[in-house]
Symmetry: C2
Subunit: 337 residues, 2 copies
């Protein structure tokens, strides 16, 4: 049990290495500030040659894993397991996206925190000696997510400024025992945190308390200060959630404003892209990680980061039954090597 640190964290003795990563996104994401970093950008219609948004989202996962495998120079049969998830009911984007690989799979649901969960469990599998190679993949799609959680797109509802825009995209990482220039040194498993918020159009506020909880616990467990990380990167808090996170962290005695970055804020240009509080969705953290964050670690520009995808735990049913929207955040420590 010498790998266990503090209350909620693991420090790996044989850290899993990230061998490659790939990202496939929609046109809007391609038009955004990170556009040039993505491996593949789709057309305006968001269908990626498919006939439904759900199928399009499955296709994104398939392409992201295929590209990541190519970059790692591996064949699909070499993957011992795939850890996959998405936002749709019964995670159908993953099931239909990954099916064709004929690879053992574990399906995950952690809302928009799922890439943190997938990387954590993948790292545990590799570091535990259970697999030479695994893949972690998540996706989201604006069309399928709005249909799943809010209103049909054709209804043309107004969106408050606190709302985020679900990213159309999928990011995949291949992990292995050696190789690559980044490794997962440790993780902090998130708790579900509920402040009683009930607004599904202000997910940043719902997730910020969970982000604070996981980041604070990570600093405690590893006995670190924010400056021990080059960056502390949340998934999709957006502008509103980021302000709440800063306030909550200050209450706990930590100022993370210098280190903090949020994938949801980076991926769109709020002024020109009409995305309000920022990007969100399982794909947001995944594609930003694959396209923008990981290369900076690989180059050694950032030596150690804390990657904290954040999720809002709700469904149409729980929302309509008047339930709150609890949050969760899964943290992964990634180091240059």
């Amino acid at each position: 049990m010498e790998q266990i640190v503090g209350k909620q964290s693991i420090q790996f003795q044989r850290a899993a290495h990230i061998l490659s990563a790939a990202s496939v996104v929609g046109k809007k994401e391609g038009d955004g500030p990170l556009g040039k970093y993505f491996d593949k950008v789709g057309e305006e219609d968001g269908l990626f040659g498919c006939t439904s948004w759900e199928e399009a989202e499955s296709n994104l996962q398939k392409e992201a894993v295929t590209l990541a495998l190519e970059k790692a120079e591996l064949e699909k049969w070499q993957l011992r397991m795939i850890y996959a998830g998405d936002l749709l009911a019964q995670t159908i984007a993953s099931s239909f996206g990954i099916m064709g690989f004929h690879t053992p799979i574990y399906g995950l649901y952690g809302a928009c925190s799922t890439m943190g969960e997938a990387l954590s469990l993948s790292a545990m599998a590799v570091a535990g000696g259970y697999a030479p190679y695994v893949a972690a993949v998540t996706s989201s799609h604006f069309g399928s997510a709005e249909k799943e959680f809010r209103f049909p797109l054709g209804y043309g509802n107004q969106r408050p400024l606190s709302a985020t825009w679900t990213v159309t995209g999928s990011g995949a990482c291949i992990l292995g025992t050696k190789g690559g220039k980044a490794r997962i040194a440790g993780i902090t498993t998130g708790k579900i945190v509920d402040y009683g918020f009930k607004d599904s159009l202000n997910m940043g506020a719902c997730m910020a308390p969970a982000a604070c909880d996981t980041i604070y616990q990570n600093l405690m467990d590893f006995n670190r200060l924010p400056e021990d990380y080059d960056k502390i990167i949340t998934g999709d808090l957006g502008e509103v959630g980021q302000r709440i996170l800063f306030d909550l962290m200050k209450e706990k005695g930590f100022d993370i404003e210098k280190q903090h970055m949020d994938c949801g804020i980076e991926i769109f240009d709020q002024n020109t892209q009409d995305t309000h509080a920022g990007g969100s969705g399982c794909g947001c953290a995944a594609v930003t990680f694959a396209a923008y964050i990981l290369p900076k670690i690989e180059k050694g520009e950032w030596k150690r980061i804390l990657f904290v995808p954040t999720g809002a735990l709700l469904s149409k049913v729980s929302f309509n039954e008047g339930k709150s929207v609890p949050g969760i955040a899964q943290a992964v420590i990634i180091e240059h090597c």
Copy 2:
């Protein structure tokens, strides 16, 4: 990597022990052949004191984990992680059920195979030295599942004889590094298998090919024959799925009729309970395992079993869009110790 065996399996060097298990079920399950084995049986209304079926299902998970902790003489803070899942969109039964424990959590979705997935990942966590104690829990509820996947109960639709009846219940297991009289010796991770079936009222047929695939691969990976297991126990194939499984296994050269048992067939009395092909749902395999299977292993009546919860991967949306219903099965080897 000395723990990896064959193509899809792991043989644990430091096998996780199952310290305790608990089951909470609805009245119909309590009236069935296994009724006397369950820890707690609810009232006729299926609400367990709550105002909605979803809340009732959350409550089932909460009670199952609480009871399992009591049996293991552990406090909730001693649990390092909970691996939890259910059938509802965005796995809300788990989120709202587990939230109150304030324990780190990984949410899972593997349809009705989720108890196999939860036990597999829990065993990996304990055997990897990542946690002294973890919990695995899944649930399903007849009311919430019919609403989620098929028709509102009030509609009173006819059910074909191939249909299964979703079990109302939750089963939880506590795993640890030592103690107890059963251990998880190995696992075989399932692939998604799609034979193109599209009938959501014949899930047995959709899942049988996946069950065959995982069981066959387990026998290959460990170089075993069916008789090396006292029992090979699937989750919820029901009468129809069982016949298909026998045929498919025979095509591969194995007769498993003597060893095979199906939780879905055991849990209801087909003749008096009007459940047609049998029980199903995430809770079916979980409560049957906790109440009936595990005690037999603990007593040494069964020395080694293969527990193979089976899942049908569909959603309302994928079904309505004309997609097939692929299957998955996650296998866990459990031995008396």
